[in-house]
Symmetry: D5
Subunit: 116 residues, 10 copies
């Protein structure tokens, strides 16, 4: 059965919870929809975190990011929502989500939000 976009994120146990170490996941394959015009937007998403008890399962991360494909979302809002969802799912010691959006109106926008 093929995969489906999904808003749920899977956490798996951190293999080395006794150490502060950093994981970074980056994908240029993020697209959502502009809430004003209904037209597609494209971004590269970078997630950097220090895990606590759990790490993000990569396949569920892919399906989670896919779930925005048909959703209207402002740049600033979607960046903070991805951060909130990931923090809720894996409860990292700290995490940063960075989004880098393709040109709109001649302007390139990036947004970067961190927890805590």
């Amino acid at each position: 059965m093929p995969s489906q976009p999904s808003r749920s994120l899977a956490a798996v146990p951190n293999p080395k919870p006794g150490r502060d170490y950093e994981v970074r996941c980056r994908t240029p394959e993020f697209t959502c929809v502009c809430p004003l015009t209904g037209q597609p937007d494209f971004a590269t998403v970078t997630i950097t975190y220090v895990p606590d008890e759990s790490i993000v399962e990569l396949k569920s991360l892919k399906l989670y990011l896919w779930s925005f494909r048909d959703e209207g979302a402002f740049h600033e809002d979607v960046t903070n929502r991805i951060l909130d969802d990931l923090v809720a799912a894996v409860e990292p010691r700290r995490m940063t989500v960075h989004t880098d959006w393709l040109v709109r109106g001649g302007i390139t926008t990036t947004v970067e939000a961190s927890h805590p």
Copy 2:
């Protein structure tokens, strides 16, 4: 009223039909769906052509490329279809469509088709 994805392409008169000259349009904002897995694919599309009586209207090109967003399409097939549609719409003296797809299974694929 916001724009909509559209399979129709607008042609406008070539301002200099007496000269062979080259136009190149490139966008990293192309996405469609893998017909086997249903998962999104992403590509950069480059269209290079020598116009005859008509040139491609840019906004209609944007809406045309958007129309593949929910469609299942193999890399080789979609490249040839974009070429066929553009050739039918503007009847260029010659045209090349080049697609450059993001990594799948560790492999990057490009496809390039030309008319005539």
Copy 3:
């Protein structure tokens, strides 16, 4: 009705005022006029800020930057004025405006001003 250059900047509510996060907008499409010679100058403008209650609305930012097209402005002055106008419009927690000017007399100039 086509858009017009405009000195007014629109602010929209910050979707996540409870968090310090950073937004960066960059455009290579800035041009104004040298007050001494009347000749055009060109710059890339980068605006980085941490929003408080408001964020900058992107279309109004585009029209605002456009409004300098026919105005005489020294590099150092225009950078500080853009910062002042944006600070007045969105009252950010902090903001930096960076301008990177094309070569004049063999010399490349950049200016960077921050609030507070």
Copy 4:
């Protein structure tokens, strides 16, 4: 007295008319206005030619390109007009004009026209 934009192009004698050699002039400082929306467009212009009896005087070329600043012009049209004007002014053995336009609607466009 400060310089002014000017549609006239100055030709100066070729110092080596007995040899086919190539001159290339490039500037990222070209801007004109979209005839549909009235909004500014930006391009890098590259002129490559083999002079015959004359070469292009650089200051007049700068003032000539400046003269498009307030003019509405489609990408394909303005490229061919620059070529036509330069061919009329210096009657080169051969010449190519290449324009590389900043992103509009997610699409980057280049146009390249040659004489003869």
Copy 5:
């Protein structure tokens, strides 16, 4: 059931056999073993071809390249063998295999073989 390395290559029908067009597949994930020392070698493999009746199925290409992981193979030999196997599998109108090997003894080697 997980995938396995496999020396067999799958061919699927060319969706546009009436046109000469080019497909290029590239992967940095190729490794085999030096027949003299038994130590691992690493290469980027690029396959460029014009299909006739068939195109290469990407998953089978991945499993095929994986099948060299434990095999001893000289740079020149393995490049020609990949070409021979792919030509036998999809009978392309023309094909080039290019391998770019990581440094050994301070020397970087590339090999490029074409059919016909």
Copy 6:
């Protein structure tokens, strides 16, 4: 006799134990196996450390990294194990291991762990 992959790491005396200085070793030639799918994974490994009494012998490091070739290992786990093994072998004043993995599911992952 050809070399063999080996889990043991050789330490040689630090030629300048009286000074804190930094050594960095980087190789793009690391490959292991995904524990879930059995398919090969590829990474660039960077080891940065300040030696105490010992430094890492380079040939033993090469054979050590080679020993993961047929082993199933998650990205986060293998990075921490390399760090643990190297810390045990050379007891550095401080050390960081950084792994940069090739794309899986459209996502690039890096992991970075430090001691102490």
Copy 7:
């Protein structure tokens, strides 16, 4: 009347003395003469400063840097002299002069001096 090289530097009033902001001027067009061999040396000069009451007038900076064209000057000395002259002329809050010299004897040299 054409410009002349000049050791004098013009200061103009800072348009925003109430704010600490940074100006950076860079030119690859610096040349002087080696005091030992009499042969030409070439450098890129970068001046970064926070103005107080005055900013550097760009044309006088160009003529000032030109004035070194026939002067013998060691790399370390000329960098400190440019800094001293600029500090005397515009009395900045802080300033750095960085020079990056082309290869001599296989060695590339840079010098960086700051005030205060």
Copy 8:
């Protein structure tokens, strides 16, 4: 005794006159003076040739290029003169001189002349 700029070029015997082979010399250290304004101009000079009986002696080439330091010269003229002088000095089978000039008036110029 220190070297001096010199308009004379030394030729030394070609060690392999029986074979057509190519030599390329490039230097970013060329400067001359604008004949109109008296201000310095800067260029990278690239000389590519197939020697016949002689090759260019490198030190004499350095002193020759240095000899333009105080001379007024238009871009197109100086390129052709360097070619003429080098052709007279070493009588190559073929030669190309390419000059790449730093920005003037926002425009970058290159000139390329070949013999025969």
Copy 9:
């Protein structure tokens, strides 16, 4: 027993003599001595060839290039000698040797010779 520099080159049988294919070997580790000054020179050497009955054995190529370490050699001469020696050793269908030398007197030199 450690390896030694050696002027002899080993040829091994071409695994695919029935096909014209290209091999390229590149190393940045070439050094010899200037015959005039006795000082070291450094180059990147690139060898591209289509083998006939033999291919170059890589270890012997490394030892061969090493053998120039203490030898006086002009750029043009050593390039032709490497080509002559390799042609004698492996009798390729065609071969090109390209050398790219580090800066001397502000000038970068490359030499490229081909057989036949």
Copy 10:
């Protein structure tokens, strides 16, 4: 008389001892010999320092680095020795020596040592 490699380093008076400023010298022309195999090693050496009473004379630095050409030296050891020799010769306020070695066994190594 041609220059000779030399282990002695010349110091010349610092022209601006009253100011802390930084000098950086970089050369890609360093080679020594592996003490285990007798084979050549290659590195780029970067020396960064704040001079006190003396600066390094560049020609003596070149001859000093040349003196390692026939000497066996481990990466970590030679980096610390260069630092020790330079510190002894010019007694800088602070100094860093960074060496960046070409690939051996698939591994790139850098070493960085500082005083004090």
